[in-house]
């Protein structure tokens, strides 16, 4: 039997998630190394709709788990997902199982790994089968460090680092779709979402903002953020901060950019009074342009900056705000 690589594909609104398409691309490369095929597991309402388009992303077969306990995405039950995945693994003996390195992908694969007592490598950039195992390149420290690692056993359980692997479009037929009903036990439904509370709307979300203006320890106080807020507002952007700021209680953690905060990917990132610790930079690698404001020309942040203003943010930022206003009035 040809080797199979099984991919857990997350989806919403009848469309596969971008991160899952990236996982499919890594799975495709893994399967190619074995001369094998890729199949996908989809769970929950809308799965069948999202399944067909997976063909061009390299999946020949889409397996849709159908069970009333899996229908409603607002009642997500992670152990039931892991049980469904493990049932397919038992039935199909894949060479590898791949998921996106999303919150859900990591958590479901970790639960499956625990059930199977198999090793799992999270946030891989590349992976290939080697004997009864796999060799992977994975991210540590939120992406600040790469690790070459070896993993024992089949199936190799892998998640794929977000936005690190390019998605592919092949000239291929739609995936064949088959459904199955996993045998879920009561314990599999013990952990399930009870209620989804909508986020308070309004404002530009940090993760999606086109411009982010952040302040660090150099801001000196909560009040010191007034000029930074003004600059963000002038540019239609969001305010961010470093962990030094959240720990001081000047801003809420929801503003924190970094490894243990929010990952941002704006057109322009303006860190003011931020030194550029690796854990901060782990959150803003996706920024297209970076303009640093810092009095220290040796600050590590400058090594990642496209533009820099050397100076005290309390002078520089208000001056920028005034200059923007003036430039806009002149037009």
């Amino acid at each position: 039997m040809a080797a199979e690589v099984l991919v857990l594909v997350e989806h919403a609104g009848g469309e596969p998630d971008e991160l899952s398409l990236q996982a499919l691309a890594l799975a495709r490369a893994y399967a190619d190394g074995l001369g094998g095929a890729v199949s996908a597991l989809l769970i929950g309402r809308g799965a069948a709709g999202a399944a067909g388009v997976l063909g061009v992303h390299g999946a020949a077969l889409a397996l849709v788990a159908e069970h009333e306990a899996l229908e409603d995405d607002t009642r997500f039950a992670p152990d039931a997902w892991a049980a469904s995945l493990c049932e397919l693994i038992a039935r199909r003996s894949p060479a590898a199982v791949v998921a996106a390195g999303s919150d859900r992908g990591n958590e479901v694969l970790a639960r499956a790994a625990a059930r199977l007592d198999q090793p799992m490598a999270a946030n891989c950039l590349a992976a290939a089968a080697v004997g009864e195992g796999a060799r992977v390149t994975r991210l540590r420290w939120g992406g600040s460090l790469l690790e070459e690692a070896e993993l024992d056993g089949v199936p190799a359980l892998l998640t794929v680092a977000p936005h690190a692997v390019a998605t592919q479009r092949l000239d291929a037929a739609a995936a064949a779709v088959e459904s199955f009903t996993p045998a879920l036990r009561e314990e599999d439904l013990r952990v399930a979402v009870r209620e989804r509370v909508a986020a308070p709307g309004g404002g530009v979300s940090l993760a999606d903002a086109d411009v982010v203006v952040s302040g660090g320890r150099g801001v000196g106080s909560a009040e010191g953020f007034a000029a930074i807020e003004e600059l963000a507002a002038l540019l239609g952007g969001a305010v961010g901060c470093s962990r030094a700021v959240t720990m001081a209680g000047w801003r809420p953690h929801s503003d924190q950019v970094g490894q243990t905060g929010t990952k941002i990917a704006p057109e322009l990132y303006i860190p003011c009074g931020i030194s550029g610790a690796t854990q901060h930079m782990a959150g803003c690698k996706g920024a297209k342009h970076l303009l640093a404001v810092n009095p220290d020309p040796e600050a590590p942040i400058l090594a990642s900056a496209d533009y820099a203003v050397i100076g005290d943010l309390h002078e520089v930022v208000p001056a920028i705000n005034a200059a923007i206003r003036k430039a806009r009035e002149a037009r």
Partner: protein, 254 residues
């Protein structure tokens, strides 16, 4: 109630990571050490829950002899006692780490301490395997929620909130349970001087488990390619504002 918190000692890397020549580890000769912010929040939450509901909190680490520093840090912010699984200094893979933690929990149970709540960080700061909590929960047949940013206790149940796109998912679990948390759960307190003095006298029990063979083996570390960027200095102080506006115009943001 009894709460256990698992933390891992990691280097504080600052602005630039330097690897050892053998590329097996970060060069830590000039670095301090800490734990993940997620784990700091876990320890803070344990202290708050015990303050509110009574009982005792315990911090556990699997790490080298020096990791006693991180245990004392947790004791200094109010955790009651510590368990040190003293390692040989090698990093244990996630399966071995989980097995050692499970064995320690079993030994505690045999000695009369049963944990109602076991708190983890969502992922370790350095290895970021995203799995030790789920492995421990599975081995103990306990319910587990990860990525948790708010916790409240109501009798024998725990309510956990997880951030998801567009809102928060709420879970309710029967205790005993395993919960992996993220920074933002609370604002951890800084250790006070009296807290540090008290921490020196709090009980710390050490044991030395044997490291099993690794099934996820680190071969080598590497630094990702640098940005290759050379910052264009737009000027100094307020005088640079005009040049900044020009850049904004170039980027179509004006």
């Amino acid at each position: 109630m009894n709460i256990l918190v698992a933390v891992k000692r990691v280097p504080m890397t600052g602005g630039r990571i330097v690897l050892r020549d053998d590329r097996q580890e970060i060069d830590t000769r000039h670095l301090g050490f800490t734990i993940s912010p997620h784990e700091e929040c876990a320890a803070e939450e344990a202290v708050r829950l015990i303050e509110a509901h009574g009982g005792s909190s315990t911090v556990l680490t699997l790490g080298p002899p020096e990791a006693e520093e991180q245990l004392r840090d947790a004791l200094a912010v109010g955790v009651d006692r510590a368990l040190h699984l003293v390692s040989d200094g090698e990093e244990w893979d996630p399966q071995a780490t989980a097995a050692a933690i499970v064995a320690a929990i079993a030994a505690e149970r045999d000695a009369g301490t049963r944990y109602d709540l076991i708190l983890f960080g969502n992922e370790s700061a350095d290895a970021a395997n995203f799995q030790v909590a789920m492995r421990v929960a599975a081995a103990l047949a306990l319910p587990c929620v990860s990525g948790v940013k708010a916790i409240s206790l109501d009798g024998g149940r725990i309510r956990c909130e997880q951030e998801v796109g567009g809102g928060r998912d709420v879970y309710e679990l029967e205790l005993p349970a395993v919960v992996a948390v993220k920074e933002g759960l609370n604002l951890p307190r800084y250790p006070s001087v009296p807290g540090r003095l008290r921490a020196k006298r709090k009980p710390l029990e050490a044991s030395s488990p044997q490291r099993p063979g690794a099934r996820l083996r680190k071969l080598e570390l590497a630094l990702p390619p640098g940005s290759g960027k050379q910052a264009r200095i737009l000027g100094s102080g307020a005088d640079a504002a005009g040049a900044v506006v020009e850049v904004l115009a170039e980027l179509g943001l004006l």
